[in-house]
């Protein structure tokens, strides 16, 4: 990953609207409600995962190569 873009470089690429958008004030951060919804999702997924039968011998589906 390299350096930041200069205004001149942005202009030469014809992406001024993108630059303007990137400099627009950011929206309000997510409410507690949004965060709670996502935490509830995590909890719901956890319950669903627990309900699936899983033999003790099963290893995770990724490999470490030495």
């Amino acid at each position: 990953m390299a350096d930041k873009m200069s205004r001149r470089r942005w202009a030469s690429l014809g992406v001024a609207p993108l630059l303007a958008q990137s400099q627009a004030p950011s929206q309000a951060p997510p409410s507690t409600e949004d965060l709670n919804i996502q935490r509830e999702n995590l909890a719901r997924w956890r319950q669903q995962l627990k309900q699936a039968k899983l033999p003790m011998a099963i290893e995770p589906a990724f490999q470490f190569k030495a």
Binding site: G14, L18, S26, S31, R39, N41, L49, L54, E59
Partner: protein
């Protein structure tokens, strides 16, 4: 100076290259025409993140030099294309569709892009996408630095995500093909919603070096194009081992339609309920017709039921855990709050709380999913058929977390098992395209593409164009 009609923008790569070889136009002229169209119509569909005209013209000029010397490195030489804005391209910003990365520059092209350029392809644009490929669980189509992807069939509807620009650009004739990426549904969804053909390769077949990571164990790069044949040509160019990608399978892909198993010997598994009660009512007639068309191919249709697992919970837990680690700095810096979608911000923040125990449980269940699918493909079916999506593209204003008809969850299931899939346009409902998806065993792309070719010789849904 060559004069182009609209037909050229909807031609296959083979037809386009034939025009260059027959000296009806040069790659430079073709590229200029596609660049003009991309810059004029790309913003209209929210499809273009960045025009690459300057470098594209140089690439086209080089390609013309090869044609002049009768040297053709590939069927894609001299043909324009676009890439999702998570594929690094030197010379311009690679934004990942997200404001915190709006000024991000890479000094080197991603490996998939290098490979397309090496065979003579011409990259005319970076294409818009859902911010950070939507891993946080966005609520609205507008979750992107470039705004919502608008569907060329109806601009009040979404082009699908997260490869929104790739789907819209191919459908609108802005590029003959585009690269997209899929973690869980991001190629198949825009392909189905926009009425184009999308190929999700087997996990590890196409290198991801230089592409944004959302989930190391799920991310795949693949093409969206006008036909299965064009998807095959693109995959052939980008596939192959990559020492810099730890997920690389170290395998190449050679498109070999001449060695395809006769369709009469291919067992296609499906669940009849997926084409009736499992999809939105308005789409049932179209899916019924599509099933009839499949039957006409002479394949052996067999009823199957995929193994029962909590696929949605598994894929969501794995994406959250891996994304949580990848974007830890983004969260800690507070820059995550600059993203466009509040639900997505909350999802990325919540991902910091996924426990190792939950992640490992999901990954252990994933092993069982892999084993069960391998058994299903050995014993019951060679390919699995299902609707790509259960609805037509939603309205831009509609929240994405509304309840949908729930057929067989092939998108999370296929992605968890790392299996290839091909989405084919198969009809229309309320004027909007719908698609069917074929899933096969790992590295069965030739089999999927042979089916796709046969289906597209029998039907013309992939040739339909959106309203002017």
């Amino acid at each position: 100076m060559a004069q182009f009609t609209d037909d050229i923008f909807f031609a296959s790569t083979a037809e386009l290259q034939r025009g260059i070889r027959d000296k009806r136009y040069t790659s430079v002229e073709l590229t200029r025409a596609f660049c003009d169209r991309m810059e004029r119509l790309g913003p209209r569909f929210g499809a273009m993140a960045l025009s690459m005209r300057e470098t594209a013209m140089r690439q086209a000029h080089d390609a013309d030099g090869y044609f002049l010397r009768d040297r053709v490195r590939s069927p894609l030489q001299g043909i324009p294309f676009g890439v999702k804005d998570l594929v690094a391209a030197a010379g311009g910003p690679t934004t990942w569709g997200a404001k915190p990365y709006a000024g991000q520059m890479f000094e080197e092209d991603a490996t998939v892009l290098k490979r397309l350029l090496k065979v003579g392809g011409v990259n005319i644009a970076k294409l818009s996408m859902v911010e950070l490929a939507g891993g946080g669980g966005y609520r609205f189509a507008a979750a992107s630095l470039q705004g919502p992807g608008l569907n060329p069939w109806d601009r009040t509807r979404w082009s699908g995500g997260s490869s929104s620009g790739s789907g819209a650009a191919v459908a609108a004739g802005l590029v003959p093909y585009a690269l997209g990426s899929e973690t869980s549904g991001s190629i198949l969804t825009p392909a189905a919603f926009c009425g184009v053909t999308g190929l999700r390769p087997t996990y590890g077949l196409a290198p991801r070096t230089g592409c944004m990571a959302l989930s190391w164990t799920l991310d795949k790069i693949g093409p969206l194009a006008r036909s299965a044949e064009d998807c095959a040509l693109v995959l052939q160019a980008i596939a192959g081992g990559d020492a810099d990608d730890p997920g690389s399978a170290g395998k190449r892909f050679y498109y070999a339609p001449q060695f395809a198993t006769p369709l009469s010997e291919v067992r296609v598994g499906y669940h009849p309920g997926d084409f009736t009660g499992g999809v939105a009512e308005e789409t049932r007639a179209a899916f019924g017709q599509a099933l009839d068309a499949v039957a006409k191919l002479g394949v052996r249709l067999v009823e199957v039921k995929i193994p029962d697992y909590p696929y949605g919970a598994m894929v969501s837990t794995i994406i959250s855990a891996e994304m949580g680690s990848i974007f830890e700095e983004l969260v800690e810096s507070g820059k995550v709050d600059e993203l466009a979608d509040r639900r997505q911000i909350a999802g990325i923040k919540a991902s910091q709380e996924v426990t190792a125990k939950d992640y490992l449980r999901a990954m252990r269940l994933r092993r069982l999913v892999q084993q069960d699918f391998a058994k299903l493909f050995y014993e019951q079916a060679d390919l699995l058929l299902s609707p790509s999506r259960t609805t037509i593209a939603n309205k831009i204003s509609e929240p994405l977390d509304r309840p949908l008809p729930s057929g067989t969850p092939m998108i999370p299931a296929g992605n968890l098992a790392g299996l290839p899939a091909l989405s084919l346009p198969c009809g229309f409902a309320n004027g909007m395209p719908v698609g069917i998806a074929l899933v096969g065993p790992a590295y069965s792309e030739n089999k999927l593409l042979a089916f796709g070719n046969a289906f597209q010789k029998l039907t013309d849904w992939h040739r339909k164009r959106p309203p002017a």
